[in-house]
Amino acid sequence: MGSTKKMAPLAGMAAAAMVGAWAAEASADVVVGAVYPLSGGVAYDGQTKLNGAQIAVDEINAAGGVLGEPFVLEVEDGACNPAQSVSAAEKLITETNVVSILGAFCSSSSGAVMEVAEKYGIPHMTGVSTAVTLTERGNPWFFRATATTSLLAGAFGEAIMDAGVSDVAFLVVNDDWGRAVAESYGSVIEELGGSVVATEIFGRDETDLFPYVTNIKAASPDAVITAANTQNAANLTTQLRQLGVTVPIMGEGSFSSQAYLDLVGEMGEDVVGLVEYVPSIDSPENAAFVEEYVSRYDEEPTKFSAAGYWTVNIMADAIERAGSTEPEAIREALAATNYDGLTGNFQFAENGQAYNFTVYMARISDGEPEVIGSGQIPQP
């Protein structure tokens, strides 16, 4: 089963290399840089993001490019390592002369790249990094086309309470994101009259979660809210069910991804993902995107693929409206964005945070994530 999947990253890298070669030949092109993790621990996720971005680039060029010129995405590997991401961004800005920059996936890397973008006065946009602090730094060149954990908590709080939940337990991974999930959702749920009966924080490398799960079982919650990546997510789902915890499991992270579904099997039934994107969103734009993605890469797009797709589109749209590749003009056009994409309408607030788009609750039913509810990110 695995051979085509294992080939996909190679094919993607080859595609990226070809795009690079093309950029070097024609200098009149509109060249945008991207720093994605294509090696290291998040290489698979980064690759799916590049796959989505590549579809957007090809669609834009098929429709005549940007400003009448071919649109080029020049990709560098940042490996989700801040130091490597910074040198990748430096290289893209100073050697390739990109007009704007996308990435760098992990919040710590994006936080480092945004300093480089500010130094050179180049617009920078992320579609994945969720650390709240990024948009609090007052960097006018930075835009975030995704929700933060606290925005997601705000959007989902009522839907969670409407599902008949009042006592929640948290089971989250021990990093900034996991702790932010426990804090943000905890305060939203307490404001709405619910209570937090247990908060368990496990290490990313831990596999046996029975001790934490036993504590959760002892607290008898109405629902378990989690934050976990693929492997932790599958482990905690299986172990909650094996210890006889039958209440709903809801989580941020990989709870709707194919890799998670493959690992967790039938134990994943009824688990609810709190996510920015699911392939089963019912709209013609999304259906076309999913069809193209599956035909190219032989697997369903991840939320990162979708983010790769919409960030490229938002950036290309801004350059087109700016009418030039002048960084300040692009920055002003980005700030005035009004883009309709896979997950609704994107606009940017003063601090560069996107709003107005839709986020989803997706429940796994017969092994497929199915949208059961949604929320809209309000204007701050």
């Binding site: 695995g2 698979y44 924080i201 496990f202 490398d205 596999t207 001790p211 006889g244 690992l263 099997g265």
Partner: protein, 286 residues
Amino acid sequence: MIEILPQYLFNGVLVGANYALIALGLTVIFGLMNIANFAHGQFYMMGGFMAYVLTASLGIGYFPAIVIAVLVVAAAGVVLDRLIFFRLRAKPLISSVLVTIGLSILLENLALLLWGPKPEAIPSPFSKMPVVLGPIFASEARLFALGVTFATIAAVHVALRYTRWGKAVRATFQQPEAAALSGIDVDRLYAACFGIGAGLAALGGALLGSIFFVHPTMGGIATLKAFIVVILGGMGSFPGAIAGGLLLGISESLGTLVSSAYKDAIGFILVILILLYRPDGLFRRA
């Protein structure tokens, strides 16, 4: 809380038996052969991936796959001993530390290259549904791993205590020169022991890989826990590895009753206390 106490104890025994199994192999390699094997967790990882490849890719049954996985990694251990560790026998401990750290990086990246970073599940005939034993919830895979672990521990113990070969092993590690003089093929025995140590780690990986998942970086934490257990139990002592593993597992599990965030800290405090009062560990070298 009291009605759920048996579950905490059972969790501790499960984790502890896992620790003991991984530590058994290291007891042979580190405790007896004096090779500080920092690649031990990577043998464990290789065992998991071998079982995965044999079942998921080659379609071999789960039980034979575990046996083959253990034999393949054990054979690799024998080859590594003849190629590398043979040359390090009279060298200071630091040489084996450096070589095995290098080996661990090599094996981890080899696995990353061969199988990619995505975690994989080993297909097994076990149901994932809970098994309820009175107040305790478990799963078939966990109970199977527990049974195999205790059977393996008993088998290794009997082999060392009561067989002619076991006597030769014990003689060699007490006094290699005298053992060689009395006709024991010491080089072959060292190679066999390294193979057994690697094979025991692989068994741990194959069993735990079917409870959880296998992925290239699963070895690091296994190495760490194995060293703690071996030192806690007493270098080279089999009963020590078993008691040390169970003690660490149960204390971590009961620690979560106090605070799950301090679970690991409680385990380490216990290790420090025991080593303060018994610097040689729980059991002295046999």
